[in-house]
């Protein structure tokens, strides 16, 4: 299931609901991404972040997340996949993204969860703007994300 929402995301509650919905999946892997209260800078220093804003492309975001989730279910044996992603303005400590994968085998659950995160970071149309004081900057894409996503490329 895919949810894209501006409302706060309660990771623990969503995970408990996911567990209850999948009683016959022995293993559940999850990833939670949360807003940190600082921002890394080129020099290795960091500045505090008051808020973060995620712009997204309504319609395409849902399509991309569905596509990534379907691809994971094709590659691994999964009982269920849940992806919840927030957009809009968020504060430090807020959960931005939650991915849950349920499987009989923990290897499948782990690989699928990591794959979804790697694809999501390079394919899902989100753009991050950080607000700190009066300053607001669009964050650049990271090369390491491209490298991580490439690991999953398949030669069919």
């Amino acid at each position: 299931m895919i949810k894209v929402q501006s409302e706060p995301l309660n990771a623990g509650e969503e995970i408990n609901t996911f567990l209850t919905s999948n009683p016959n999946s022995g293993g559940i892997a999850t990833f939670i991404g949360q807003v940190r209260d600082f921002q890394e800078q080129g020099s290795g220093e960091s500045a505090s972040v008051a808020a973060l804003e995620l712009e997204h492309y309504p319609g395409m975001t849902e399509k991309e997340l569905e596509r990534i989730s379907a691809e994971a279910q094709k590659r691994w044996t999964l009982d269920a996949v849940l992806v919840i992603h927030r957009h809009g303005r968020m504060s430090p400590g807020d959960t931005i993204v939650l991915v849950c994968t349920a499987s009989t085998h923990r290897g499948d659950a782990f690989s699928a969860c990591e794959f979804i995160m790697d694809w999501l970071k390079t394919q899902a149309p989100f753009w991050k703007r950080e607000h700190s004081g009066t300053d607001s900057t669009w964050v650049d894409a990271r090369e390491s994300d491209g490298t991580r996503a490439k690991r999953w490329e398949k030669v069919d």
């Binding site: 395409m60 399509k63 899902a124 149309p125 753009w127 703007r129």
Partner: protein
């Protein structure tokens, strides 16, 4: 042929709008051709597309490379490489 053109993040800020309806000329076959034409529409458009390495494209909400034919697409979107959380 009318096309919905969408801009996101700093591309939107540079162009000055998030959405416009445009009718590109018939010789704007590919995404690249279309951008060439867009750049002639205003200095703001020209500025937004000055570094094409920083631009990504979706046709009808699917990522595509610049050499793709626009064909019957109804929606084209331009945006920076996607970014998310810092993890």
């Amino acid at each position: 042929m009318s096309l919905t053109v969408l801009y996101f993040a700093w591309v939107k800020e540079k162009v000055g709008t998030g959405e416009e309806q445009l009718s590109p000329p018939d010789n704007a076959k590919t995404v690249s051709d279309f951008i060439d034409w867009l750049e002639t529409q205003s200095p703001a458009h020209a500025s937004a597309f000055s570094d094409r390495n920083q631009i990504r494209v979706a046709l009808d909400q699917l990522h595509v490379p610049f050499e793709t034919d626009i064909g019957d697409a109804k929606e084209i979107a331009f945006f920076p490489p996607v970014t998310g959380g810092a993890w």
